[in-house]
């Protein structure tokens, strides 16, 4: 008797285990397509880093009665593989998905993963945004994939106390006047190095980031998406400018521990700041360096680093409602709110003219009028065609080769050769 009950209990346990597995497998399969025009109970929004949407989402919930789930991923590096999985398997993607510029360019090669927003959003918003930013949201076949959220823009963050110790001016106007062009930046750096014996800028790849986007011409790809890495004048000019500054570089590449540690140690006195970088500089430098940093204009005027769009995946069950939400999140008022909350720079023309935006000052950075500084530099950003694997070519070919030269692992010529060769394999799509 006891034997049989024990056995049947075990059999039951085994059965339970099996059904549990079966249940797991069945989980993802609820394919209830909603009826036409039905209002969704819930929309999901996927973002990475900080978009400043917490309050806006609550507002929208109150206005429409639709529940919004905001899924945040801290690092872009974790965000991208998740997104790829959603698209490859055809399920799991959020209704509104934030796309960073590198990701967007890559996905343009397969636009059918994304809903065409043209019929879904109001036709009046077409002219509301920076024209080049709006154009970049379109796939080659004309399909509108993304609504513009923010741009990185570019400025120089510098340490006033270190500048003063080296006998350089500290006032942000005077500092900006030091470097009308990159040559001026180099000379200021050499002066600093002579006076203090220390490096001036964090790395030459940071410099190249600045130069690349000022050219207003094709970078690694031409308009037909042929790889032109070895012949592109813009790339060559960024390469030459950046590699010439190896004498004033701290050789601390962006995001490395040497770099994040360098802020507190003062291993460099200047770095390049897109709007979203300000918070990172403040975090890395710590409370003890509050008020020591300030923001000046970037050499050569304008420039851009990063920026995103909001898109609606084709697999979303409520493309219309999702598009409406995306439209709401990127309108002028929302963009100003987001900027005030977390710092992403508006792309909506009206937001860029907004008084609250222009008069915004950043306390950590010696009350620098960052709204005005970044707002002005946005106007000077040159629209650029980036091509499908821009990010991969930049991250895995251009910058590593440059760093190999910076660290003395390769001569300038050998490094250039490494870059042009790797650009071919990284750039294939």
């Amino acid at each position: 008797m006891s034997l049989t009950t024990r056995r049947s209990r075990m059999a039951a346990a085994a059965l339970a285990a099996i059904t549990a597995i079966g249940g797991l497998a069945a989980c993802g399969n609820d394919d209830d397509t909603p009826a036409e025009g039905e209002k969704p109970a819930k929309l999901v929004v996927d973002t990475f880093g900080e978009f400043g949407y917490d309050e806006l989402v609550k507002q929208y919930e109150q206005q429409t009665g639709i529940k919004i789930e905001l899924r945040k991923t801290a690092q872009l590096g974790e965000y991208r593989p998740k997104l790829v999985r959603y698209l490859a398997t055809g399920k799991g993607a959020a209704d509104v998905t934030a796309l960073e510029e590198g990701i967007l360019n890559e996905f343009k090669a397969n636009p059918r993963n994304w809903a065409d927003l043209t019929p879904l959003v109001s036709s009046e918003i077409t002219d509301d945004y920076l024209p080049w930013k709006w154009e970049l949201g379109k796939a080659p076949d004309g399909r509108l994939i993304g609504l513009p959220t923010d741009v990185g823009s570019l400025a120089v963050c510098y340490r006033k106390d270190l500048f003063e110790a080296a006998g350089l001016p500290t006032d942000r106007e005077a500092v900006s006047a030091l470097w009308p062009d990159w040559n001026g930046f180099h000379q200021a750096g050499q002066k600093y190095k002579q006076a203090t014996g220390k490096a001036f800028v964090d790395s030459i790849t940071a410099v190249s980031n600045g130069v690349l986007f000022q050219q207003g011409s094709d970078l690694f790809y031409d308009k037909e998406n042929n790889i032109i890495a070895d012949s592109s004048p813009a790339v060559k000019s960024a390469w030459d400018t950046a590699t010439s500054m190896v004498d004033i570089s701290a050789k601390a590449s962006t995001w490395s521990p040497e770099w994040s540690g360098g802020f507190k140690q003062g291993t460099f006195a200047a770095t390049f700041c897109p709007s979203w970088m300000l918070g990172i500089v403040a975090d890395n430098s710590g409370e003890e360096n509050k008020g020591k940093w300030d923001v000046a204009a970037v050499p050569g005027g304008g420039g851009n680093w990063g920026g995103s769009w909001l898109a609606v995946p084709e697999q979303s069950k409520y493309p219309e409602e999702a598009a409406k939400l995306a439209e709401f999140l990127t309108n002028a008022t929302s963009q100003v709110e987001a900027f005030k909350a977390k710092g992403p720079l508006p792309t909506n023309l009206e937001a860029l003219k907004n008084e609250a935006f222009l008069s915004y000052t950043n306390e950590y950075f010696s009350n620098a009028p960052t709204g005005k500084i970044f707002g002005e530099s946005v106007a000077q950003i040159q629209p650029i065609h980036l091509g499908p694997k821009h990010q991969a070519v930049k991250e895995n070919a251009f910058e590593p080769a440059m760093r190999a030269f910076e660290n003395g692992q390769a001569s300038k010529d050998a490094a250039w050769e490494q870059f042009t060769k790797d650009a071919q394999t990284q750039g294939v799509f």
């Binding site: 059965l15 790829v84 090669a109 490395s256 521990p257």
Partner: protein, 322 residues
């Protein structure tokens, strides 16, 4: 004999007419139970293995025969990915890196583990349980935490190791800039984390060796050193094969440590100084969406290499013990 009598079903020797069908049903249930329950009990393993082991493997093989875009088109191209692999300079580079780091981690690690296991096996040692627990602790720490902390220790500008080297007058080393230094740094992380684990397995193997062998040897006048070489080592052979194969599998799949050591750059160093096979697979298969098929071919290449190296290990260890 009596055992089989109790487990065997009751013999159906002419049931009296009043014994109802209930009894017969019970008998039938017992027969079915006896025949099929074992399959049910082992089913969970096979189901899980099928879903998470076999299916991904076959699917990867299928992908590797295609020009496979993760979010786009798939075109069948036969074995082209594999032929391309043979002439791919960066694949060979990753292979050399993987074996370099593998050698630097596995060999010192197993020697160290053997030494420690032998030490812990001494009868005179006090607080045995404490030491056995303590030695295992590094293995409980998450890989990411280990990699991040060691990444800081091996920093160029403010790292502890460079500071220590500076005390004895050695110049700052940029650990990530050369092959030897980056391999050493990564091997250090692996060694730190896995030496204790292997020590415990070897210790278990040592304790399974019959004590009378040692007693007999001691009576014959064999020194502890001689006992170690002629009793412990030969008797430890099966455990050793197991440990070596396990280390091989881990070493060939090394991913997190070098990736975090490279600050998340998938190419592992400015000139791919420490990009491992697993990282190369990720670069081609997942980082780069349009070459997922090629990435799958790299995955299968890794699998074949592990099988090959394990076989070589097996043969070598067997022959050495003969």
């Amino acid at each position: 004999m009596s055992l089989s009598a109790t487990t065997a079903p009751p013999s159906p020797a002419a049931p009296p007419p009043d014994v109802p069908a209930r009894r017969r049903r019970g008998y039938l249930f017992n027969r079915l139970d006896l025949k099929y329950s074992p399959y049910l009990y082992i089913a969970p393993f096979f189901l899980i293995f099928g879903a998470f082991g076999l299916y991904p493997m076959l699917r990867t093989a299928w992908m590797s025969l295609h020009d496979w875009d993760m979010v786009g088109e798939h075109t069948f191209i036969g074995l082209d990915n594999y032929t391309e692999l043979f002439s791919d300079e960066y694949f060979w580079n990753a292979l050399v890196n993987t074996f370099g780091i593998f050698a630097l981690s596995t060999i010192p690690q197993l020697l160290m583990a053997l030494f420690l296991a032998n030490l812990l096996n001494q009868t005179l040692l006090r607080a045995k349980t404490f030491f056995r627990m303590a030695i295992f602790v590094p293995n409980v720490v998450s890989v990411a935490a280990v990699a991040i902390v060691f990444g800081m220790l091996f920093q160029r500008d403010f790292g502890l190791f460079n500071w220590l080297l500076g005390l004895i007058g050695v110049d700052q080393i940029d650990w990530r800039a050369q092959e030897w230094s980056s391999w050493t740094a990564i091997a250090t992380m692996v060694n730190w984390r896995w030496t204790g684990y292997n020590t415990l397995i070897l210790l278990a193997g040592m304790q399974a060796i019959p004590k009378d062998l040692y007693e007999a040897a001691a009576i014959d006048g064999a020194s502890p050193w001689r006992q170690f070489w002629q009793i412990t080592l030969p008797m430890l052979k099966p455990t050793f094969i197991f440990v070596v194969i396990l280390s091989t599998i881990g070493g060939m799949q090394l991913f997190t440590e070098p990736l975090l050591f490279a600050n998340g750059s998938i190419i592992g160093g400015n000139q791919r100084e420490f990009q491992t096979l697993a990282m190369y697979m990720y670069e081609k298969g997942i980082y780069n969406l349009s070459t997922a098929g090629y990435g799958a071919a790299v995955a299968w290449a890794i699998f074949m290499i592990i099988v090959l190296v394990s076989l070589i290990n097996f043969i070598l260890v067997r022959r050495a013990a003969k």
